[in-house]
Symmetry: C2
Subunit: 338 residues, 2 copies
């Protein structure tokens, strides 16, 4: 088949690769209904993350099961499934503690920017829907695989409560999904730091009540001002840079939790400053599998519309343009039609 | 009156100072029932914390109100009271959010290693008991002022749940109170890192189920071994050093919270390592006032006996020896009889 391979910085090719096959009895092969490009794919694309040779890209996926290994019990060919970008057995102590993203058998999904993909640990990873969903819900179901689940985790880790004032640092796809999640969790006020019109508009669509266009200290001051000097009850850090983390801490009230889901690059935290700011931190790879059943319900009942975060739809053969558009910030997130 | 003044590293004097007076209408003057030396007093005593001239020492206190300012409404002369080392108004947004230790009007108590002390923000800070308590409960009530409240916060911030496996890093007075708190919160297994016999014994008295005498990587490996490789559900970091924080993170399972209450000295946290360990952090100055009513109830009903943490009782005139004994680790915590 043809699939997406990153050969080096800026060099994305849609090219011939071997068809995926069952390698272990716990594997499944799925036919993707759609795929997409993740913000985290841009790290190696930009040469900011070391690569170990050409890489089969793509870790977000939903689709129909076409084949399962001999040990797979909970999904069968013909079912529509969604899985997390973190593959997990869903039975180990870490999974049972609610953190399948730290599963003892954890692997990270790869090769999903393709018409077909192999999903290891299928029983633990995949959640099947009762019926084949209508086509118009595919983008939203695909979003659940990573970007929605990650934004949801940011809000969960930040302990967003009904009535809360929430600050979201980062207006990428994950930050926007964080807004959606905070709204669903009953936040009364959702302040997002954003200076891009299309992202601001989408944030308002998802439930943001305030937009802060200022950055750095000015942004923190603005959020402090909006909260009468108190700071936010919960903060979602959806970038992963030193400066964004500093902003997150700066706008958190004492006792607030920061849910941080942007993979930190070069972030150092001073213990004493964190202590006296009395800011809590919880983050890490999102345990999306924990949230998937609930998120799929919300999508299937049309209570949320995370799929709108895909503001560029391209045939998968044009995947290189999908990367370029995100790299240039012309697109928030690219959906690939397979 | 005579009171405790630290003139410089190692130079503690019990000497004549002016009697405390009402300076603001929100002040109270109390006659202390007992006082004590805190582990944090050793930082300036050891010359590890800059001093701005001679300092009136002591921030832990309980006793009988002898005078109140004109604005004080909730306590009156003759009442027995306990207050937190953090003075707070108990009405500001931070107090109402459960973090009086970050009160908008926060001050830190001083001058309590003395027969009398001024307590600012008396209404917000002091909790009165219904009756004058019996003398034998004074040590336990005094402990509630800081060391018990701080250990309790460590367990609260670490989200200790019934049935949990808890690891406690630090066998000082706060760590021991953390053991007591974890036990009260229903922890099933409480592992403390300790290599001092008297502290081990006291930890067992307070509910520890396992003692780990190894330190550093060996200590972490031992805790991992005791938890079948999983790690602890909740970790209490009660030291504040880089090495103790590293141990705390090392023995936490993914998704666990670390409640850290030792003031960090030179602690740096790597954002990416924290992210992938999926460890949560919550700490800061303990919001003792939040817990005081509950802690006083537990003491008055004789359900807990935190006063045993004072393993050296001295007349306050011998306060210098009280500091020396703690500095030499001959005493866990010194109670001063006033």
């Amino acid at each position: 088949m043809l699939a997406t391979v990153l050969h080096g910085p800026g060099d994305v090719r849609y090219e011939s690769v071997p068809d995926p096959q069952i390698l272990k009895p716990t594997d499944a092969i799925i036919k993707l209904s759609a795929s997409c490009v993740c913000g985290s794919d841009l790290w190696p694309y930009r040469g900011l993350q070391p690569m170990d040779g050409p890489a089969h890209m793509g870790h977000e996926y939903c689709g129909v099961v076409v084949e399962v290994g001999g040990a797979v019990k909970t999904v069968r060919p013909g079912q529509f499934v969604v899985g997390s970008f973190c593959l997990s057995d869903n039975t180990c102590p870490h999974c049972r503690f609610g953190f399948p993203s730290s599963c003892e058998q954890r692997e990270f999904m790869t090769g999903a920017q393709a018409p077909y993909a192999r999903v290891p640990l299928a029983d633990g990873t995949l959640v099947a829907t009762a019926e084949i969903p209508p086509d118009d819900l595919i983008p939203s179901l695909l979003a659940a695989s990573d970007v929605l689940g990650t934004g949801w985790y940011a809000a969960d880790a930040a302990c967003v409560r009904p009535g809360a004032t929430v600050a979201v640092v980062g207006d990428g796809a994950v930050g926007l999904m964080g807004v959606l999640a905070a709204k669903q969790m009953g936040a009364e006020r959702i302040i997002i730091m954003s200076r891009h019109k299309t992202r601001q508009d989408l944030a308002l669509f998802y439930g943001a009540t305030d937009i802060v266009a200022e950055r750095g200290d000015a942004g923190v001051a603005r959020i402090r001002d909006l909260t009468k000097g108190v700071g936010a009850d919960a903060v979602l850090e959806c970038v992963g840079a030193q400066e964004s983390m500093r902003q997150a801490i700066g706008c958190a009230r004492p006792g607030a939790m920061i849910g941080y889901v942007g993979v930190p690059h070069g972030v150092q935290l001073d213990g004493q400053a964190l202590f006296f700011s009395q800011t809590g931190m919880m983050g890490g790879p999102a345990p999306v599998r924990r949230f998937l059943p609930h998120l799929l319900d919300l999508v299937l009942q049309r209570k949320i519309d995370p799929g709108k975060v895909f503001d560029l739809h391209l045939p998968i053969a044009d995947v290189a343009e999908g990367y370029r558009a995100m790299d240039d910030r012309r697109a928030i997130k690219t959906l690939l039609l397979v």
